[in-house]
Symmetry: C3
Subunit: 139 residues, 3 copies
């Protein structure tokens, strides 16, 4: 069994934003030399998401608007006070709706994604360096 | 290490609907001959979900009603315009709440599911052929 | 390839509550002797969640309040009538928003978690014994 690990660093200059990580994850799969296996991609911070959708900025903007509808920002609700940097509760809710991680099959040495599937990083507490874990196991 | 891959094809005749894939995934596990491992099941389209719940049509109907409450269909919001077939934004939101994939343990050659756990495919943009990936690794 | 399986038993004395399972999962990783691999943790009941967030009771309380906002309890909606114990539909919705399972990388024999990441069990139908599956594969 082979295994591979890499931390990707992401900086989103605004509080909210998106980065398509598909190419960087593809490079990890190549570097791992795993031909058949599984690839886990997860946010290592609890205020950002990794999820899969098409890479279309129009739909991404709609996602941010919709998340604001169902988990509105409330400046009264400071949570996570144990953390060095305090977050607002809505940030946790938004990240949870989209999710922390995705698992993707590796087949014949490549990410086994559907036609429109892209690996997206959604940031809800940006303006600083965050990290994403890529872990690959297989053969 | 063994690995196994199969694409399941699903056609839901209405725009929204459910298919229980548990039996088909069970057959994949048997065909894979993997005794101890992990089984990933994921929608390959970004407009349908794989998630785990009990196989009860009463609760499925409630799911569709609730998703309409929190992510209502809005004919003004055509998104995903890069795609060959245009989708509406709410379809993406609904699929994201339920999720794209599940990972299930394989123990002693069988899906290691709780008593009421069933692998469900939820369709939000049906009337056409969609695909679901089953990837198994283990020994 | 090594594999390891353990069922954790959880009893939350109230209908809703939280248990941090990070330490118990850490003990499973140690017992598995897997140095590089993947660890799946999933609820085996369809009325509780496993998800990752910081271990801060202030934010947990906000989570329960927010879930009540987006998936309010409605005593009219008895669902899951096939089940031995009947559940209300909102319980299924709440559990689905937070999710059924997480997959965590194992690196150098340890859970490869971000600084604030903790493995949380959220209960939505407590007062009885529930079970959680830990499955580890790797080398």
């Amino acid at each position: 069994m082979k295994s591979y690990r890499k931390e990707l660093w992401v900086v989103v200059p605004e509080m909210q934003g998106v980065k398509d990580l598909t190419e960087e994850v593809r490079e990890c799969v190549e570097a791992s030399r795993v031909k058949e296996g599984l690839c886990l991609v997860n946010a290592m911070n609890v205020t950002s998401s990794i999820f899969i959708n098409s890479d279309d900025w129009d739909i991404h903007k709609e996602f941010f608007k919709w998340l604001e509808d169902i988990a509105p920002h409330d400046p009264e609700k400071k949570a996570d006070t144990k953390d060095v940097e305090e977050h607002f509760a809505d940030v946790h809710f938004k990240r949870t709706v989209l999710g922390r991680d995705v698992t993707i099959a590796i087949t014949k040495g490549e990410l086994d994604l559907g036609t429109w599937e892209q690996i997206l990083y959604f940031e809800f507490d940006g303006k600083r360096r965050k990290h994403v874990l890529v872990k690959i196991i297989g053969e």
